[in-house]
Symmetry: C2
Subunit: 263 residues, 2 copies
């Protein structure tokens, strides 16, 4: 087992990774894109931004921490049993990206012994970098750092719920989502990874999504939890591998969501 | 009838108005907000940002152009029969605003003899200012100006459609929206006024909304049309007073949308 890495060292490496990724993503945002279909059965665009950013991130990790594991959306898994494992979604929200909407992000999570440890969501167009560390979370923007704290709202009737697309839910999941949305004060769509950062920033109380892969959620768990929130699956269990994900601002509103989802 | 105003003069005044509004909106974005309910029957938040920004805009217009008309979301209508009439939505997308999502905007339109003439959508958090003038449109960001041109996509199967919330449509409108969304390649929600600017920027082909007020659309028509697009109601008629609104990137994709909506 390798020596433990200080979180300050990881954080400065996360900044390096985000800068390298942004050099690949930002110049391609709002340009005409070579969109190819990853799945014959659906619309899942992969852009050059996605591929080039992941390659840039992987190259830096392999150079700096050659014994670490890497899981990436575009280029697969290497050494996943390592103590430290980096989990990358170079462009989360590719649909936002190809529509010109600045709610996509570069997600880089670091798991230690299989558990979420640190993570970053970088939105280079708005200049926002949301960072989660053990016990804290902060936003870095224009050389200014702001601590993130989740909302203290505990009543569903005062809560805002976010999800990317209500049509992604089918059958029982659709009924569960609608039940939550009906209890909430406000429902916002089209939010992708940005939604979790808004929970961390105290702007929303719930995010509900399903069908996530590990790289969709790995980076976001330390951000939400570092700011005081909770991320589980829809039954209150582990969400660190993806699947059904519920992010909540605090224990009380999290419990309220689980109760609504269980009905 | 007053002397005709040169569009360059209006444009520099639009920049002044946007700066004054941003001084009221931006410091209140992502702060705790005093949200009150405008309608007992629904959730329509009015923030101090909204009120203060409209007052700032009105004060400047009255001082510079005392004979012009003003229609504003928050403080009503003055002298609407004037040759030039300013139409203001100080914070379009108040729900985005209170959720921390940077897709809201300050909308300022100028009608001449009752017809859309010029308009601006200002998003001060991202630093984007979309401006429509007779025959052209451009984006001003970080002291850089970029001409805006709509998409040349003509096939619905390659089109992106945007709307704020699919649940805002009921009955026949819901069926019409679903018909359009099913023909499209991609559907994005939660976009508010930002959607029209993405059509102007060539990032999306359609925006479909209904129940709009004049101040929700007045500023956006010159932006979309200046970039080469078309804004009508769902039957191809005038949309400059609000109601059902269809924005489209070009004549062909506009006609295709009207045909789908008519079925």
């Amino acid at each position: 087992m390798s020596t433990s890495l200080p979180s300050s060292q990881i954080e400065s490496f996360l900044h390096e990774l985000c800068k390298a990724a942004a050099q690949q993503t930002l110049p391609r945002f709002r340009q005409s894109l070579d969109v190819s279909n990853k799945q014959a059965s659906g619309f899942d665009p992969v852009t050059e931004a996605d591929r080039q950013a992941e390659q840039a991130i992987r190259a830096l990790i392999k150079s700096r921490y050659p014994d670490h594991g890497i899981v990436g959306e575009e280029f697969g898994t290497e050494n996943p049993q390592a103590e430290y494992c980096w989990i990358i979604d170079p462009v989360d929200g590719t649909r936002a990206f190809i529509s010109g909407i600045p709610l996509w992000g570069t997600l880089i999570g670091l798991y230690r012994n299989g558990r979420p440890f640190m993570g970053v969501m970088d939105q280079p167009f708005t200049g926002e970098r949301f960072i989660g560390t053990p016990g804290t979370a902060h936003l870095s923007k224009a050389h200014k750092t702001t601590n993130l704290t989740t909302s203290s709202v505990t009543a569903p009737s005062e809560a805002t719920v976010m999800t990317t697309d209500p049509n992604l839910f089918k059958g029982r999941e659709e009924r569960q989502f609608q039940a939550l949305a009906q209890q909430a004060q406000l429902c916002r769509y089209g939010t992708d990874c940005y939604a979790y950062c808004m929970v961390a920033a105290g702007q929303a109380e719930w995010v509900l999504e399903s069908g996530l892969s590990i790289y969709d959620i790995a980076a976001l768990i330390p951000i939400v939890e570092g700011a005081g929130g909770i991320v589980t699956n829809w039954s209150g269990g582990d969400a660190s591998q993806g699947g059904q994900v519920l992010a909540a601002a605090n224990k009380t509103i999290h419990a309220a969501a689980l109760e609504i989802l269980a009905q």
